[in-house]
């Protein structure tokens, strides 16, 4: 087991990879080993140096036109090959849906363990990785450790803050890429939402639930979000049952950790709470004084959202002018 060395990070999402460097840095320090970033893509230019500036000691760079979309199949074969050759001790992978598929398949190929959706990473007294993640629909935090190497962990977006770049030195290794024919063919890609700011990155999220009767009634929430420079979000039934939206906040949807979350007409079912419980400040507006969301709120507002939401907007306008 001892011949495994080094902490690796990989994500098909470049921004997430920078966050992983922040997660991996203390692990590498604690193990007195190096932190390496696995960079795959096309026309990477100075990204490798940028990764070094964000904390990588080494960058394995694979630049190839066929890696433009970081297709899971292709990234997987390359990553597995590299891992078999260099035997890293820890591999951190961005826990997006594709990232989780990649992490699981990599773990299968390397016959090792993997924990997905990690929010915390530590090295225990034996020098083994321990991870924390939320399970049981947000009802529990599981602490797990590893019995085999490499230790693979998929790390949730925003679990770590992207590090500040500094002037530092690192080693860039250019890896020869041979693309194998993939068994899975991508026929078509439809972007769900492109131009807008991603909800995970919004500082303020005004979230609506089934307490909102009609799609038009979402307008006051949008206005409030605009006033605050935030975004609107929603619970799953508004997407799945009512088809007003294509995504939602929660266990099976987006996980957000904004500075301010305001839930309007949301009951606070655990599956929804799992996606917002890490918000810094939580405001809940519900007409039912017994609503479960009040249990996870900093500010409890018992009342009709149809009256309260416009009143908040009004108040803000007054303060801003």
């Amino acid at each position: 087991m001892n011949d495994h060395k080094g902490v690796w990070v990989f994500s098909e999402n470049y921004e997430l990879m920078l966050e992983l460097l922040a997660g991996g840095r203390p692990l590498a320090a604690s193990l007195k080993t190096e932190l390496a970033a696995i960079l795959m893509g096309s026309q990477l230019n100075d990204r490798a140096t940028e990764l070094v500036r964000h904390g990588a000691d080494k960058v394995y760079s694979m630049d190839n036109p066929d890696l433009k979309d970081c297709h899971t199949e292709r990234c997987l074969s390359l990553l597995a090959k590299l891992a078999i050759e260099h035997k890293p001790e820890i591999i951190l992978i961005g826990s997006t849906k594709s990232g989780k598929e990649l992490a699981s398949r990599l773990a299968a190929r390397l016959e090792t363990g993997c924990t997905p959706d990690c929010v915390q990473l530590d090295i225990n007294g034996q020098g083994t990785l321990t991870t924390k993640r939320v399970v049981y629909s947000g009802n529990a935090v599981v602490t797990a450790t590893y019995l085999k190497k490499p230790q693979i962990a998929a790390v949730l977006p925003r679990a770590f803050e992207k590090p500040e770049p500094t002037e530092r030195k690192g080693h860039v290794v250019t890896v020869d890429v041979k693309i194998e024919k993939s068994a899975v063919e991508i026929v078509e890609i439809n972007e769900i939402r492109a131009a807008e700011v991603k909800i995970e990155e919004a500082k303020i999220v005004i979230c609506g639930g089934r307490g909102i009767d009609k799609k038009e009634d979402f307008q006051p929430l949008i206005e409030l979000a605009n006033l605050l420079g935030g975004q609107v979000g929603n619970t799953r039934p508004l997407a799945e049952d009512r088809k007003w939206f294509t995504e939602w906040i929660g266990l099976s949807g987006k996980k957000i950790r904004p500075a301010l979350y305001m839930g309007c007409g949301i009951s606070g079912m655990i599956q929804h709470v799992a996606g917002m419980r890490d918000s810094q400040v939580v405001v809940a507006i519900n007409k039912d004084p017994e609503a479960a969301i009040f249990e996870v709120a900093d500010y409890v507002v018992v009342g009709n959202l149809y009256e309260i939401v416009p009143a908040i907007a009004e108040q803000l306008r007054k303060q801003l002018s």
Binding site: T96, K97, S98, K100, E101, A103, S104, R105, A107, A108, R109, E111, T112, G113, C114, T115, P116, D117, V135, Y136, S137, N139, A140, V141, V142, T143, A144, L147, K148, A183, V184, E185, I186, E188, I189, N190, E191, I192, R193, I204, E240, S252, K254, L260, I270, R277, V281, E295, A297, D298, Y299, V300, V301, N304, I308, P310, A311, Q315, L316, Q319
Partner: protein
């Protein structure tokens, strides 16, 4: 006419979990078990493919605990036969061990065209089993499918990812994991429930599928659970007072400004 194997997990009914108030440890004993929701979507999809194309649907479950009631339910929903790997040696299996056991069981079940799984289980939510089983079997995997179309020896799925839908295609046999959006699982009729009692459940021990003890349970695992606790909630739970919506709004805005989460 495809032969479809559905992986069914008997999961904890997470909506009924409670934490011990003093230790914050989760109490799982006595919590009801049920077929994991997304696996039920996988089963429904398999049964409706069978209704369209013919063929056969069988289920595979692996558990140290009894799961026959859940398997019977699957048979009532429309599976033709249930396979059940039931062995004490399965306790404390992580996904590495579980996927190995499932893959060996699938090899023993024999020829198939598709293996369907839920995208993840409602309790562990690791999303690893489908992809891992595919790797061990050495066949392609399509994850997070919100629709599946079978044509000849080709299967096409529309994947539901964070920022896009991706239509992908591969040759069968393949593993597919499905999302909840794919369908609404049927509730079996009384008739179907009665018929299900005559269908066969094949029970296996680990030895029957040639899995040595060191490949299952904790020995066969790559990850060990150290602790399961309820997450800390340290919320203020402060009720915003006020006689009117306007007064409430003013007090709320004041509090948020004081907290520094909104600007002045």
């Amino acid at each position: 006419m495809p032969r479809i194997i559905v992986c069914l997990k008997q999961a904890l009914d997470v909506s009924q979990l409670k934490a011990d108030p003093s230790s914050r440890k989760l109490v799982t004993a006595g919590v009801p078990r049920k077929i994991s929701d997304f696996d039920k979507n996988a089963l429904e999809e398999a049964v409706s493919l069978k209704e369209k194309l013919g063929g056969e649907v069988v289920t595979i479950t692996s558990s140290a605990e009894d799961a026959k009631t859940s398997i019977r339910e699957a048979l009532a929903i429309g599976a033709d036969k249930g396979y059940f790997v039931n062995d004490e040696g399965l306790r404390n299996s992580c996904t590495l061990a579980t996927s190995h056991v499932l893959a060996e069981a699938i090899k023993k079940i024999g020829q198939f065209d598709l293996v369907l799984c839920g995208e993840a289980s409602i309790d562990g939510f690791s999303a690893q089993i489908g992809p891992r089983v595919a790797e061990i079997l050495g066949i392609p995997v399509l994850t997070y499918a919100r629709s599946i179309t079978v044509q000849g020896d080709t299967v096409t799925a529309e994947r539901s990812l964070e920022d896009r839908y991706e239509t992908v295609r591969t040759k069968m046999p393949a593993v597919i994991t499905v999302t909840r959006e794919i369908n609404e699982p049927r509730i079996p009729s009384l008739m179907a429930i009665m018929k299900a009692s005559k269908k066969e459940i094949v029970s296996w021990r680990l030895a029957d599928i040639s899995v040595p003890p060191e490949k299952a349970g904790e020995q066969g695992s790559g990850v060990k659970i150290m602790d399961v606790s309820a997450p800390k909630v340290e919320r203020k739970k402060e009720t915003i007072q006020g006689e009117s919506p306007r007064e409430i709004a003013a007090n709320l805005v004041k509090a948020l400004i004081q907290d520094g989460v909104i600007g002045r």
